[in-house]
């Protein structure tokens, strides 16, 4: 069974490496700022004690006030996992840095999040619609889509 790491402990480590990155943290998840997301992700991947070499899932949530992008990270070597989150408050054009350079599995999942939720992943090599067809108007999983 994969051990879910305590978010508060990881948040302390992240704060040591890059101060001011963590917005909020509880046992379940760590929330970081959008600007520091790439740096934090790189830290989580490359630190030998954490070694998150596998991005299991990427999800986007519409909380009406802001969008939240959720990353499920897994370390296959240590068999532990972590939930990393980031928030973006710009409703018209939410931008989050792309993590495709760190985890190749982010490619399709970021395209899906862009397709259905309209979150722009800055630095993605091929950010186009994944499930819906080219020319579809709107992003259907948003709360205000009808």
């Amino acid at each position: 069974m994969t051990t879910a790491l305590n978010g508060e402990q990881i948040a302390r480590k992240i704060n040591k490496a890059s101060p001011g990155a963590v917005v909020a943290a509880d046992k379940a998840a760590v929330v970081v700022t959008g600007e520091s997301l790439f740096k934090v992700a790189k830290f989580l991947k490359n630190t030998p004690a954490l070694d998150f070499n596998y991005l299991a899932d990427l999800a986007a949530v519409d909380y009406t006030d802001y969008f939240e992008v959720v990353y499920h990270l897994v370390s296959l070597a240590h068999n532990h996992s972590l939930v990393l989150k980031t928030r973006c408050y710009d409703h018209d054009k939410p931008v989050v840095p792309s993590l495709t350079t760190l985890w190749r599995s982010a490619d399709f999942m970021e395209r899906e999040a862009y397709d259905l939720m309209g979150i722009v992943f800055d630095g993605h090599p091929n950010l186009k619609r994944l499930l819906l067809w080219e020319g579809f108007v709107g992003h259907p999983l948003r709360r205000d889509y009808l």
Binding site: F136, G138, P140
Partner: protein
């Protein structure tokens, strides 16, 4: 012995007339009348039936439908179940599901049709050779079902291609689909090549 003892009355007029009719028919019937098909070779005589073209064509078409292997969603499993030995559509002359639309004449559209899939369905339908029939299977296919208001689902396959038989259900049981196929048979039997 006296001949007069046996008095023979003179012949009745009616009897005479009858006798003449019989004798004349007998004289005219010395030779047998030839059979209407006697000019045909004896081997062929036993193998000729006379009927209308419509009847034969419809009989053949309705009893040898070639369905297209074509499943879009969960309804496809009921369609596959119908083809297996338990429900056995071989009884209706539909042994083989064809993989190529060019070899099929019945399209069972089983499942939810999305707008992204719709051009492919239309293309497959157009590739099928005439005569061709379509069965819309399941609520999603008939009207969009629970996904009718969705952004991605076609609200009814009749917006894309014409439909012959609708089989409702979510999904319909194999028996339901077989009932739909027998309904299609009844429809095919009514068709006429003069109208086509």
């Amino acid at each position: 012995m006296e001949v007069d003892k046996y008095h023979i009355p003179p012949p009745n007029e009616l009897d005479v007339a009858e006798g003449l009719r019989i004798n004349s028919l007998m004289a005219a019937s010395r030779n047998p009348i030839p059979d209407p098909d006697s000019w045909i070779d004896e081997e062929i005589q036993r193998n000729v039936l006379v009927t209308s073209v419509d009847y034969v064509v419809d009989w053949a078409r309705s009893r040898s439908l070639f369905p297209l292997m074509f499943g879009l969603a969960c309804c496809a499993f009921e369609m596959i179940g119908m083809a297996t030995s338990r429900f056995d559509i071989s009884r209706f002359g539909m042994d083989i599901f064809r993989w190529s639309p060019r070899q099929a004449d019945l399209m069972i559209v089983a499942g939810t049709l999305t707008w992204k899939m719709a051009p492919a369905v239309k293309l497959v339908y157009e590739q099928m050779a005439e005569p061709k029939w379509v069965i819309a299977m399941g609520q999603c296919c008939i009207s969009g079902g629970p996904f009718r208001e969705s952004y991605s689902v076609v609200p009814g396959i009749n917006r894309i291609i014409p439909v012959d038989v609708y089989v409702p259900g979510c999904p319909p049981r194999p028996e339901g689909l077989i009932y739909g196929i027998t309904k299609l048979h009844q429809k095919i039997v009514k068709e006429s090549i003069s109208k086509a």
